[in-house]
Amino acid sequence: MRSIEAKGLTKDFKVYQSRSGLKGAFRDLLNRKYRMIRAVDHINLSIEQGEIVGYIGENGAGKSTTIKMLTGILEPTSGTLQVNGYDPHREREQFVRTIGVVFGQRSQLWWDIAVRESFRLLKKLYRIPDDSYRQHLDRLVEVLEIGSFLDQPVRKLSLGQRMRCELAAALLHRPRLLFLDEPTIGLDVLVKENIRHFLKQVNKEYGTTILLTTHDLSDIEALCSRVVMLDQGKIIYDGDLERLRSQWGDGRRLILELKDEISLSALNERSHGLALRWEGEGTRFVAHMENGTGVSDVLSRLVPAVTVREMKIEEATTEDIVRRIYREGITHHA
């Protein structure tokens, strides 16, 4: 069975507009103007059991709205949606037993009571049998290293401690599908690293499907085999990270510091026939190499004539690529 199967998933919001001025305010009382906003626009998404999928996009691209439809919080305006074999909105109460959700910006633990009490309450809510609960909790406590503050109320925890508890809370009932909305927001490098490691482990051990939204692309690089990119409510890319890189990446840049000055035209002459473009003057030059051009090819042409003092190879990071796609839109490349 597929974890997520969405066809033509759409969500419209009615946004009320207020008129300006006092006169406008009175008119608003009687007759309010509104316009429809399409937050998610005919999305087709199919995710298999056991996949880790990164769901990325700019602020306001419709990521959160999608997650809220997939988790049954919002009702889709149109389209069909099956998650874990359920209609999330209509069969909400049974459906949510099969998923785990972590919203990075909101706590789902009870603020005023000890973490342990929160877990106990969740155990009752999800009707987890005693022995399996104890066993699973022990494991989560050990891996996430949360044992030392289980008896503290949630409001006294640091963000990193809280987030680890949130993860444990979302996984207590062993959901088949885990939604993570900005799970590493505001966390330090070490905690981030721990959480990523943990998520990988969960995915491998239990075959849990993970859908992750984030602005931190290093999360995606560390975890996801597949990326879905959203822009203005539409999916603009769906595939693996490697293809995204090779397709939209600019190739590598070779930065050279030479011993003697040389002219641009002389360099061009030297590298004639290679797919690259030179930039620079004097002793500093940058070669923008297209995919397929090797650094060694370039160097072997240059070395007989010029002395290279320093050299650096730069590769476009995922962040560069994504930034470029956000800025230029995918249509330029397609």
Partner: protein, 264 residues
């Protein structure tokens, strides 16, 4: 199923214990209220020994019982629901395998039981030492009263849920909530027993659910009604309890469809 909801009652009980200061200040406020209304009514009685068939002792008992009952049935479900809708926490509630409204009511019950045990019961005992009130000694009267008080709790919670859910439609319903509180205290007979209202007002109130919140349980305990009248009271309460489910269900269903989660 019930097990789950009882756990929520327990948790709310724990949370109330965590905020004890609020509870101590509550005791003072309620004692003051009972005192104020007791002396007010005694001033109204003056030399009279009966007002519309109610003796001063019955009136004093009514005041004490009504306020102590309020400690049990009163809750802030309306404010809590409205706040959760406004700040978007309601989204978290919807990813949990329970019925949001039912959960809220059980949390209210946890709060009510807390105040009943640590506040109303000892409070009523203390008040009975200070003021000349007369509580029935029969088990039967107390039994009817407890039943009626439970109904009162449910009706009041339902009214609160309706007010709170209005936040889905009017984002800022603080005014509505405040107005409702004053209205409920007045129309439920907490401040003035309903049989002392002018006749026309009494007739209108007979068609409203509020009488079931304070007037009915307090009257049962303070005036010693015949059983037939008690059963009639309970019948009316039960009727409202069922009728009020309809607007709640309608509101909740519409709200779920119109839900916009605030703040991302």
């Amino acid at each position: 199923m019930l097990n789950t909801y009882m756990e929520l009652v327990r948790i709310r009980f724990l949370m109330m214990l965590a905020y004890r200061v609020k509870y101590y200040s509550g005791i003072i406020i309620y004692s003051l209220n009972i005192g104020v209304y007791y002396f007010l009514w005694m001033a109204i009685y003056g030399e009279n020994s009966s007002l519309n068939g109610t003796t001063p002792v019955q009136m004093a008992t009514y005041v004490a019982v009504a306020w102590m009952s309020r400690a049990f049935y009163f809750n802030n479900l309306d404010r809590e629901i409205a706040a959760e809708i406004r700040d978007g926490t309601v989204a978290i509630q919807l990813i949990r395998p329970y019925h949001y409204i039912l959960v809220k009511c059980f949390q209210g019950l946890g709060e009510g039981i807390f105040r009943l045990l640590l506040f109303s019961a000892p409070g009523l005992f203390l008040v009975s030492l200070v003021f000349p009130i007369q509580l029935p000694t029969g088990v039967e009267d107390w039994g009817w009263f407890v039943l009626s008080l439970v109904f009162a709790f449910v009706i009041n919670s339902q009214v609160n849920v309706i007010t709170g859910l209005m936040a889905f439609f009017i984002m800022n319903n603080t005014g509505l909530i405040r107005g409702k509180r004053v209205l409920v205290d007045l129309l439920s007979g907490l401040l003035i027993p309903i049989h002392l209202f002018p006749e026309w007002a009494g007739k209108i109130l007979a068609f409203l659910p509020f009488q079931g919140i304070s007037y009915m349980p307090s009257t049962i305990l303070s005036r010693g009604l015949p059983t037939s009248e008690i059963i009639q009271f309970l019948g009316i309460q039960m009727l409202w309890l069922i009728l009020l489910l309809i607007p709640i269900q309608l509101l909740w269903m519409t709200a779920r469809r119109r839900l916009i989660v605030q703040g991302g």
